[in-house]
């Protein structure tokens, strides 16, 4: 990774499934299904644009489909992939968990096939943790709920705005009483998201990507890492 890049930046990727060789190499503009790995992404990206009528959104979200804030001519399935990943892998890496939910919701791939693919890719403890994530997500996924009577989600962050709050899974919280003003976090924050006010650190949240460097570096443990909630 270069510079201040880290996991969590909005990225879009595409998948086509077919029996024959697929020659089309343009992007998918009218998907049958949208898989969203970040519960807050919908606030900065119009995630359901182009989704076919009656299509499915599978979103990493702690609540059921109708409580995700999404609305339109489609169905919403959910899985609490972040917490499943934290439980099984110990890190908020949600890719394999969401795959378990995909298997459950669509039935287009079996659990065994996913487990085989994971065993091909990794081995030992890593493979085991990821397989646990897949199984747990398969059990806990909430099946699609109709949201055609609900209003569409508003995209709040406009393109060009530099609010990266939605990147965070954990948020640094400063205890001003404990802060000794040593400026370590101020110097080391890769996003220049920490300023100094009256000799104490001051976190500018819209610029914070939640990398946790300040939490790690604080010599007096004045910064705590707290999981973001919806």
């Amino acid at each position: 990774m270069y510079g201040t890049e880290r996991r969590g930046a909005p990225v879009v990727s595409f998948l086509r499934i077919g029996e024959q060789r697929i020659n089309e190499r343009d992007l998918v503009h009218e998907p049958d299904m949208v898989i969203v790995l970040d519960p807050l992404l919908g606030k900065s990206v119009p995630i359901t644009d182009g989704l076919k009528k009656g299509g499915i959104v599978l979103i990493n979200h702690p609540h059921k489909g109708r409580e995700t804030g999404l609305g339109g001519d489609f169905k919403v399935a959910t899985v609490d992939a972040t917490n499943i990943a934290l439980d099984t892998i110990g890190r908020p890496i949600t890719n394999t968990a969401i795959l378990g939910a995909f298997a459950k919701v669509t039935g287009s791939v079996s659990l065994e096939s996913i487990e085989k693919a994971i065993n091909d890719q990794w081995s030992g403890r890593i493979a085991e943790m990821n397989i646990n994530a897949v199984r747990k997500a398969y059990e806990e996924a909430n099946m699609p709920e109709d949201v055609s009577d609900l209003p569409p989600q508003k995209v709040e962050v406009k393109p060009g705005e530099r609010d990266v709050s939605s990147w965070r899974v954990f948020r640094p919280e400063l205890d001003k009483e404990k802060c000794i003003g040593c400026k370590r976090c101020y110097i080391l924050c890769p996003e220049v998201a920490i300023g100094m006010v009256d000799g104490k650190a001051d976190i500018n949240y819209p610029y914070c990507k939640g990398c946790g460097i300040c939490v790690e570096e604080c010599p007096v443990k004045a910064i705590e890492f707290v999981q973001e909630t919806l």
Binding site: N23, E24, R25, D26, L27, H29
Partner: protein, 392 residues
């Protein structure tokens, strides 16, 4: 023998090609989107799957220079992208001058951005290298293996680039069949050292030196010889493509061009690389609606398949040439210019149209290609269309 498939990205397919060709030397310098090719190769060497020397250089210029030296002795490989390829430009002339069959993979990256277009290889057009283009990951793997055989053929002995679009191929996963090592070994014989090296070959070396420095040899001869070799490559590419088909059951047109659904058509779209791949879907849809248009995918850019286009002119009344490149100051894209050049010798010339598309990774959708196909069909039906060259 049971077929072995693996879902892999284009860059891994390239690494497999180098591995199956049993390259002995890899010079590497990372540049997006090429980096993972040399990472996969480094992994293969670390795990003992591939027995080769791997040297991380300080830049692409020395990457090419060291590969030149290595390829005088062993089968060598390097890979790069966009600006990295531009940085290799100077020694690349040397590689072809020394007639070294070095094979290089290029993952297209624009010279004006991270996304793909063909300006990186097109900027090396006259370095004397052969250039092949690929449409999918399987083709990357297969072309990689064929490349060594083509470049090393005694009738050719020229360096060769095989290329695929960055991102669109390099990072897209798809199922790829991996040929068995024994079969590749039978298809591709061991590297034949092109220059004398040992004391017992001293006489041969002396003869070579005296020819090199002979003041009475026509100074143009080096170019004339290269030109002859590049033209010989047309025959060799066709032969290697046909032999590959015999061994592995796959081939790519006649090796120089792939004519896709060109039976009973009035017009053709012409393109290279992944645009040609997407165009296949457009052609499928057009023909389903009764439109008589096919696709010609250029597989070999160098040598350029003039004779093929002269033959295609016999059945296509119009050609819509899609170029992911531009030669500013001339009248269009580079393959467009080459095709018009080839067609000059034909009595009944088809209408030729040009579309610049996909530059700096601009998306080329099936709809875009269908629109280009419609325009080309109009021209084939005798309608006047303009402009001849357009930015699609």
């Amino acid at each position: 023998m049971a077929k072995k498939f693996e879902v892999m990205v284009g860059n891994k397919a390239v690494a497999y090609a180098a591995k199956l060709a049993r390259v002995k030397y890899v010079s590497a310098f990372p540049i997006t989107p090429q980096t993972t090719i040399v990472q996969y190769l480094a992994d293969m060497m670390a795990s003992g799957e591939l027995d080769a020397e791997y040297v991380t250089m300080e830049g692409e210029l020395s990457c090419q220079a060291s590969a030149i030296t290595a390829s005088t002795t062993v089968r060598s490989f390097t890979a790069t992208s966009g600006p990295g390829l531009l940085y290799m430009h100077h020694p690349m002339h040397m590689t072809s001058w020394a007639r070294l069959p070095l094979v290089m993979a290029v993952v297209h990256r624009s010279t004006k951005g991270m996304q793909p277009d063909q300006m990186d290889t097109m900027s090396q057009r006259d370095t004397g290298w052969l250039m092949l283009e690929c449409q999918n990951s399987q083709e990357l793997l297969d072309t990689g293996i064929m490349s060594f055989k083509i470049a090393e053929d005694p009738r050719v002995r020229l360096p060769l680039i095989f290329a695929g679009d960055g991102y669109i191929l390099s990072y897209t996963s798809e199922p790829v069949e991996i040929p068995a090592q024994e079969e590749v070994d039978a298809f591709l014989p061991p590297y034949k050292r092109p220059y004398p090296m040992y004391p017992e070959e001293a006489e041969e070396a002396r003869a070579l030196m005296s020819e090199m420095w002979n003041p009475f040899v026509d100074p143009q001869k080096v170019w004339a010889d290269q030109q002859q070799a590049a033209m010989n490559a047309k025959t060799v590419i066709k032969e290697v493509n046909a032999e590959f088909e015999k061994w592995f059951g796959r081939s790519y047109g006649n090796g120089l061009v792939e004519e896709y659904k060109c039976e009973d058509v009035d017009a053709v779209l012409v393109s290279m690389g992944t645009i040609a791949s997407t165009a296949k879907t457009a052609i499928d849809q057009m023909q389903k609606n009764g439109k008589k248009i096919g696709l010609v995918a250029i597989k070999s850019f160098k040598p350029f398949p003039d004779e093929e286009f002269q033959r295609i002119a016999g059945y296509a009344k119009a050609m819509g040439v899609i170029d992911r490149n531009v030669s500013t100051g001339t009248r269009g894209g580079i393959t467009f210019t080459e095709i018009r050049h080839a067609l000059y010798d034909v009595d009944e010339r088809p209408v030729t149209l040009n579309f610049h598309a996909g530059m700096r990774g601009k998306e080329v959708r099936v709809e875009d290609l269908k629109r280009m196909a419609e325009k080309t069909l109009k021209a084939a039906n005798g309608e006047k269309v303009s402009p001849i060259v357009e930015w699609a």
